[in-house]
């Protein structure tokens, strides 16, 4: 390999966001060619609105993946959040409904955290079991609430799906602060550094005096809360609520974090890449729809592209 290529690779490795952003731009260009005139402010607005719930779910995934874990219960928890809000709001008002949802989701996250942090259950199996428990509980609850009926409150629909000032998505009001807290928190706060430390080398972290179980317990509660917020936005965006509302976002949430450069083995990655990953997946879905591919072909291409991007990314950023 020539010297210049090595420097080029090294500079890419130091700034892993650059190739991702290039891919994003490339996708937009392809989209503009595939359907001239589609790329406008209205398209941008709807892309952002659809990417935000995915990005929030992927945030939960990013944080858990930093500690070499994974949270497969985020979709079930997000659906629970949307469903609780839709059923409690008519009687309790939207604010109390959101609070109830947040408490329920934090509780589910706490159980995950206790299982993973204290009982050392593998995160894959703990959160998988939890997703079954949550799904079952919501379905039972659905049966109890069937007479009361569910309706997404207007405030939530405004926040999740509405726009102001001629097209700026309202959900940015929620997303920008959340993203800022995560981005700054991971870089600057002690807790953020603990997440990287635990994921990088748990034994070393423990020997250095880190109470790993506390870090993990808090982490999964945070993950549950993020899932609750994602469910809130998604419920508002789709103006519907059911026990399986967020299910189809589970695999994309993992994919967004992975494409965004977060290592599933822990210790490497960040939220900025995940946001770009969520945008890439959302635009990719639009592109495949615009190209009028039949659903099966769309699925095949979706999987193949995720794999290709992940493989290219691994090669670029790998320590040689």
């Amino acid at each position: 390999m020539t010297g210049s290529a090595t420097t080029w690779r090294r500079s890419l490795r130091d700034r892993p966001l650059i190739p991702l952003l290039l891919l994003l731009v490339l996708l937009v260009i392809v989209l503009a060619i595939a359907q001239p005139g589609i790329v406008n402010t209205g398209w941008l607005s709807s892309t952002i609105r659809f990417a935000i719930p995915l990005a929030i779910l992927a945030a939960a995934q990013t944080l858990t993946m930093l500690t070499a874990g994974i949270d497969l219960s985020v979709a079930a928890i997000a659906s629970m959040s949307a469903y609780i809000i839709a059923t409690q709001a008519p009687e309790q008002g939207p604010l109390v409904a959101v609070l109830i949802a947040l408490v329920a989701c934090a509780a589910a996250g706490l159980v995950n955290g206790i299982g993973v942090g204290i009982f050392r259950v593998h995160p894959l199996i703990m959160t998988l079991g939890m997703s079954l428990v949550v799904l079952g509980l919501v379905t039972v609850y659905q049966r109890i609430m069937v007479s009361a009926g569910s309706r997404v409150p207007e405030a939530i629909a405004w926040l999740g799906g509405g726009t102001s000032l001629g097209g700026v998505p309202n959900s940015l009001l929620l997303f920008v602060p959340v993203a800022a807290v995560i981005l700054v928190g991971l870089r600057r706060s002690g807790y953020g550094r603990l997440l990287y430390a635990v994921g990088d080398n748990e034994v070393a972290a423990r020997l250095a005096g880190v109470r790993v179980w506390q870090v993990l317990t808090v982490l999964y509660v945070l993950s549950g809360l993020l899932a609750a917020l994602a469910g809130l936005v998604l419920g508002g965006l789709t103006n519907a609520a059911s026990a399986t509302l967020a299910d189809r976002y589970l695999l994309p949430s993992v994919a967004a974090a992975v494409i965004g450069g977060t290592s599933i083995f822990g210790g490497r990655g960040g939220f900025a890449g995940t946001i770009v990953g969520a945008l890439i997946l959302t635009i990719l879905t639009t592109l495949l729809t615009v190209l009028q591919m039949p659903e099966p072909v769309r699925q095949i291409l979706f999987g193949a592209i995720i794999l290709a991007v992940a493989a290219a990314y691994t090669r670029i950023t790998e320590e040689s």
Binding site: M126, Q299, F302
Partner: protein, 330 residues
Amino acid sequence: MTSATERPDGIGDVLRRLVRRDSWLVALLVLLVALLVITKLIRPNYGAFDLGSLAIAALPVALAAVAQAIVVISGGIDLSIGPMMALTSVTAARLMQDSTDEVAVAVVIGVLLMGLMLGLINGALVVISRVPDIVVTLAMSYVWAGAALLVLGTPGGGAADWFKDLGRGSLLIEWAPKALVLLLVVVGVVWIPLARSRLGLSIFAIGSDRLAALRSGVDVSRTRIAAYAVTGLLAAAGGLTLTMTTGIGTPIPGPYTLLSVAAVVLGGVSLAGGRGGMIGPMVAVFVLALIRADLTFLGVDPNFTTVIQGAIMVVVVMIGAFLTLRRRST
């Protein structure tokens, strides 16, 4: 793995060693027997027929679990098992529709080879792309699910009568459901030669310590691909049993990927790789199926059954992890 022993053991020794070394499996078997007793207590007329339907319901899940177990032992994980089963199932259903019995035999063999190929592709992509197993197989799960929809857009197709009969009824005695016998035969034919071969040893070796395996001369890449290929083969067997028991093919993947992971962990296969066997996951599948059946007999809301199943899965693994921790500290 069993190592050669110097002196012949008495039955007591064998039992003692089994309890000490495979305590998890023994506990699981005790749980299975306890559940069977409980089932008989809450439903006194539970008989051979019910056992048969239990075996038929558990057959595809058990094959998915065994498929997952092999790749997990090799230190990987395959999240595309459910979609692979859907793809092989619809392929079999489409090709078998209105075909003669002889053609159906060829279809079964062809679909098994197809599963082997799907697994080979998964494994090769994992090795070549250097992307973590979980991500590759997650991406491939979209590919296989899409391919299944291409083969058959809606549930349909058919199956030869002799093929459907393979899983129905019982063999020789009333208490040996054909589905159970079939499961044991398929797993035995694949696993027993594999476990005794060099490849089987290599699969355990790369699962427990990849670097050490490499240094002792194991071709790590080839072994990983082979493990995925065997997983694909067993997933195809699982897909065939879906066509066998339903008589049609359904392109939308069932919950088999998640069930297989759950059964593998409950069955005592370490997700870190290198440890476990085939009997544990199979017993775990029957334990989960029996719990579901019992809760239905008791008239529990089917949705609540999901809650209890999830909780049991977590609690059993928690107890296991807790015991391991305690044993390590003493």
